[in-house]
């Protein structure tokens, strides 16, 4: 399939990009890494009149740290997010998630901002944002908004972004003392969308786990923070936590994988991740390259 005709602009500044988006309204779509949008164009699932390419705006990419917050520019490629020394040191959860994001060619091109703005419910970054308590920084015409990840992902491909706004950065608080994290994803083949995934953060002490944030993906129309399950685990009740997932998740019933299967797998993944976080063991991961 071939995309229908569209116009193309490559502004050199964020203000110019926002002006174009404002001028053309719903007819304009920002182009980040293009790993989902270009496919949608070719499949004729999307037919914007104008693509506003964000790839020539230098200030949108890069990783930095300031006062206990790691800021990742929206146009930072998946690979550059997960391999940045700062991320590997401060946000090991993100580094652990990286190998699960599709394949190297896609990781080299796709961006964290694009992934967060698209909000595919079976992808890794939105869940990581949720688990890590990230803040999504967005800019519209003239204004900047800062939205907690908890309030950003609203539904299937639906976010709190308003028309004319784009994601400019994602800010992650640097985890403090005693912080632990967990990540696990089950997909049919390496690089496939998750059947079930779990990104988790918390704090471990002699008495157990606390401040748990369990962000499941692939099991609802958006990444889901399983609060009841987290509370049960903090209370030392893994079985209760696994049972609680029945009410917290709403897995899709797709032709290849039943909803019951996803729920079952979510419980298995929860058990494994919570066990590792509790025991302080890191999963042995076969590397699929960065």
């Amino acid at each position: 399939m071939k995309a229908p005709d569209f116009a193309y602009a490559r502004p050199a500044s964020l203000d110019a990009a926002l002006a174009l988006l404002a001028e053309h309204g719903e007819d304009a779509v920002p182009l980040a890494g293009g790993q989902s949008l270009v496919t949608a164009l070719n499949m004729r699932l999307s037919a914007p009149g104008l693509l506003v390419d964000l790839n020539a705006i230098p200030e949108l990419a890069g990783v930095s740290e300031d006062e206990g917050v790691v800021r990742i520019g929206a146009m930072t490629r998946h690979r550059d997010v997960g391999t940045a020394a700062l991320v590997r040191e401060r946000l090991p959860l993100l580094a652990a998630a990286l190998p699960h994001i599709a394949h190297p060619a896609i990781r080299n091109r796709g961006t964290i901002g694009g992934s967060v703005a698209l909000a595919d419910p079976a992808t890794e970054w939105p869940a990581c944002c949720l688990a890590a308590g990230a803040t999504i920084v967005v800019r519209g015409p003239g204004t900047e908004r800062r939205i907690a990840a908890d309030a950003f992902f609203l539904g299937l491909y639906t976010t709190a972004l308003e028309p004319g706004e784009i994601v400019t950065a994602i800010e992650f608080p640097v985890p403090g003392d005693g912080a632990v994290w967990g990540f696990e994803e089950l997909s049919r083949r390496h690089g496939d969308y998750a059947l079930v995934g779990l990104a988790a953060t918390g704090r471990r002490s002699a008495v157990g786990l606390s401040d748990l944030r369990l962000a499941f993906f692939g099991v609802a129309d958006r990444p889901v923070l399983a609060r009841a399950a987290a509370a049960a685990i903090e209370a030392g009740d893994l079985t209760g936590a696994q049972a609680a997932l029945a009410d917290e998740l709403d897995p899709p019933d797709d032709p290849a994988t039943r909803a019951a299967t996803r729920l079952h797998l979510a419980r298995v993944v929860l058990g494994r991740v919570a066990g590792r976080m509790r025991d302080g063991t890191v999963k042995e991961e076969t590397s699929h390259g960065a």
Partner: protein, 794 residues
């Protein structure tokens, strides 16, 4: 493999390339991106066609308005089914030797009724594919949906309407085979096991999708067709028939082809329509399937449900096999090879490695409103192998016997050949016993069983699966020709010696990436004595190669290779006759080695071929009187002794099942197979490995999913899961060599053996791993859903 008077075979020729892993001559060109696939062919005034395809599984086309589309920018023509039918006649996919096989006339573009999601019924030709797709959106269609026949299990019920009312019902073909006294054997058996096996519908996914460029030059009355296809002469013949052209008016060129697997050997409505459009518009027209329409319109395969039972003696002898196969083939039997072949092969092949004498099989082939199915790599073999090998494991477990031992006990012994299999298939020479012995040592079966037992104590569930199989290769005219299909069973090779001493070999077998041209170059170099780097091979052009069948059914090396060998020998004879006259020597005392005429006994060089070429081509006046050099030789070959050259082999799989997630990890795979003479070990081993991976695809991953209304639910590479390297195990390959005496080179086919046995080996391994938990799977693909259901966890 025959020997000459000296007792030497071609393997002993001083400059033999046979049996050596020489690199493929075309590999570098393809790696450098210099391949010429259909989409790389540049022609002036090219029109791009896009097709409007049915969104319904079954519907009547009530109204079709193309006026707006015709007015769209760049549009050259918008053509409907009835308009195209004035140029291209319909076809019916039946053959005389499948008695009772029925189908209905099929048009290149559906006339007034669509019968599967993806069936083309209107075409737009425009300056670009994008403009053609723009115009598709402007075509107004009104459908009247009709009841869709989706489930093959209910397709034959009286309440189910026939897809083609003139046929009365949805039964396309039925075959019943009853050999020996099956009922008595089951009555007297110590143990009877039964299972229902389900084989998901899947397809062959080619890197290069189907593609065709048809160019009608009215001035010289020539339709030139660049086609991503396996059988150019078949396509030429069919285009002549349905477009009312003479043979000389159609040239089909299959230059580089990016994979085929049997997908590109059938007649597709959109490709016929593209050729008809070129005639109508008097200009070149190109169609390249995109990935979505590939999934919707490439042939699918498998989609079988087999209920089968096997009878055993207390000692573990297989006494009898009784099976019932049901398969859904879509709304039409595919032209010209028909869609009855897979079920027919299942009947012929099930239990084929074994020596039981009582066998009953029924196969029913039903029509349904899904994409048509037809022959895809290892037609019927994975089904036949799974049924027998699955039942043997069940029987072994019931009898408390080792599954390896039960196979050793039951295979037809290596010294029993030639003989016939229970279904009547004629077997020249197979090597099941030798293959099993080799496999047992190669995989360290006993050591693996010990490891498995130890790990089970730690809660790790590993399984070992075995699968013995036979494979149909080198088909004679018995495959298609006797049924009336104009598909050549014979193939030819023409070799020309040029003045500098190089040769050009034109062959009618074709190359789709498996290395056919490399094999031919090896054989030609060996036969003629010309170094391999001075051999050029031409294939895939109806105008410049001998007439032949192309490459399918694992026939390229065994049939095309023998033609090349015979042509090479003939050319060497011709060349030595002339050399003998010039050198005043007995031609029988001379040979050609490494590009020079030599004294055969001593190897002393007498004259380089370049000198001989100089004399013959530029100074023929100096030749002795009466010498007329013929530096071109052509030979053809068709197997005649046996309808097919059966091969055999055995595979083993070692897997680990995560009994919490239902995920299967493939740890290792082994294959010992016997394709006769191994012409190029590297190419054969990679054929086996690639075939195994495709078999694993069907066993674990690939599935064309339809909903109850006949909608295809997965039409992209994101949700149709092809097997990928990350999940594949290491695969060890070894060979037993039982050369066929039907040809001098003794090669049988090797292209499908991997696919034939891999699914059964993997599924048996999964069941072996699950056995301690009382769980068992029998539905492919074996997804986590299937395993978790078997474990009772969901």
């Amino acid at each position: 493999m025959s020997a000459d008077l000296s007792g030497l075979t071609f393997l002993d020729r001083p400059n033999s390339y046979i049996g050596r892993s020489v690199p493929r001559p075309n590999a570098r060109r393809l790696l450098e991106g210099r391949g010429v696939y259909v989409d790389d062919v540049a022609v002036a005034r090219l029109g791009h066609v896009a097709f409007l395809r049915s969104p319904h599984a079954h519907a009547r086309i009530v109204a079709l308005d193309t006026a707006d589309a015709k007015a769209m920018p760049g549009v050259i023509a918008v053509v409907t089914g009835p308009e195209l039918a004035a140029v291209c006649t319909p076809w019916v996919g039946v053959l005389g030797h499948f008695k009772g096989l029925r189908s209905a006339p099929q048009h290149a573009l559906a006339l007034d009724r669509v019968t599967w999601v993806g069936e083309p019924f209107c075409a737009v030709v425009a300056r670009s594919r994008a403009e053609a797709e723009d115009a598709l959106a402007a075509i107004m269609v009104e459908f009247d949906p009709l009841p869709a026949v989706v489930d093959m299990e209910t397709a034959l019920e009286s309440a189910t309407p026939p897809i083609h009312p003139e046929l009365g019902d949805n039964l396309a073909f039925e075959r019943v085979l009853d050999v020996g006294d099956v009922d008595a054997a089951f009555r007297d058996a110590a143990v009877v096991v039964e299972e229902t096996f389900q084989f998901g519908r899947h397809t062959g996914v080619c890197l290069e999708p189907r593609a065709i460029l048809a160019d009608w030059a009215a001035a010289d009355g020539m339709l030139t067709v660049h086609h991503s296809f396996q059988a150019p002469h078949m396509m030429q013949d069919i285009l002549c028939k349905h477009l009312a052209l003479s043979e000389g008016a159609v040239r089909v060129i299959c230059k580089d082809v990016g994979g085929s697997f049997g997908i590109k050997v059938h007649i597709y409505p959109d490709e016929m329509a593209t050729c008809a459009l070129a005639l109508m518009l008097k200009r070149p027209v190109k169609f390249v399937a995109d990935r979505l329409e590939s999934f919707q319109s490439d042939i699918h395969a498998r989609d079988h449900r087999v209920t089968a039972r096997m009878a055993f003696s207390a000692e573990g002898d297989i006494l009898a096999l009784d099976m019932d196969d049901l398969t859904g083939i879509g709304p039409y039997s595919v032209y010209p090879r028909t869609s009855a072949v897979e079920a027919n092969q299942v009947v012929n092949l099930t239990g084929g490695p074994y020596r039981h004498q009582h066998y009953r099989a029924r196969a029913r082939v039903v029509l349904q409103n899904k994409a048509p199915t037809c022959q895809y790599r290892a037609v019927g073999h994975p089904i036949a192998t799974m049924v027998a090998e699955g039942l043997i494991d069940l029987g072994a477990a019931r009898l408390g016997l080792d599954p390896f031992a039960v196979r050793v006990r039951n295979v037809i012994p290596d010294d029993a050949y030639p003989c016939a299999g229970v279904s009547g298939i004629k077997l020249e020479k197979l090597s099941h016993q030798a293959a099993l012995a080799k496999l047992r040592a190669m995989m360290d079966y006993d050591g693996l069983r010990e490891e498995q037992a130890l790990l089970r104590q730690r809660g790790i569930h590993r399984g070992i699966g075995l699968a013995a199989f036979i494979e149909i290769t080198n088909p004679s005219a018995a495959f298609y020709g006797v049924g009336g299909a104009r598909i050549s069973a014979q193939d030819g090779c023409t070799i020309r010696l040029d003045p500098q001493g190089g040769v050009v070999a034109a062959v009618s077998v074709t190359e789709q990436g498996q290395g056919t041209e490399g094999i031919i170059a090896q054989i030609v170099a060996t036969a003629t004595g010309v170094p391999m780097d001075q051999v050029r091979v031409i294939s895939g052009d109806t105008q410049t190669t001998p007439y032949g069948g192309g490459t399918w059914a694992s026939r390229g090396a065994g049939i095309g290779g023998e033609a090349a060998w015979q042509a090479g020998k003939a050319l060497r004879g011709n060349v030595l006759a002339v050399a003998g006259a010039i050198l005043q020597a007995d031609p029988g005392s001379l040979d050609i080695r490494d590009g020079a005429v030599v004294d055969a006994a001593t190897g002393t060089e007498r004259m380089p071929l370049s000198e001989l070429g100089r004399i013959v081509y530029f100074r023929p006046d100096t030749l002795p009187p009466g010498v007329q050099p013929e530096f071109v030789a052509t030979r053809h070959y068709v197997p005649k002794d046996y309808p097919f050259a059966f091969t055999n082999g055995v595979q083993a799989s070692y897997v680990e099942v995560d009994t919490e997630t239902g995920f299967v990890r493939l740890l290792k795979h082994w294959c010992v197979e016997d394709c006769g003479t191994v012409l190029n070990p590297l190419l054969v081993d990679e054929q086996i490995r690639g075939g195994i991976v495709q078999g694993i695809g069907g066993a674990l991953f690939e599935h064309c999913l339809y909903d109850a209304e006949g909608q295809l639910l997965n039409g992209s590479m994101a949700d149709y899961l092809v097997p990928m390297a990350g999940e594949m195990p290491d695969i060890d390959v070894a060979h037993v060599v039982s050369a066929t005496a039907s040809s001098e080179i003794g090669a049988k086919g090797a292209g499908e053996a991997g696919t034939a046995g891999a699914p059964a080996a993997v599924v048996n391994a999964i069941n072996d791993a699950l056995a301690p938990l009382g769980a068992r799977v029998s539905r492919q693909p074996v997804t986590p859903d299937v395993v978790l259901e078997a474990l009772g966890l969901i």
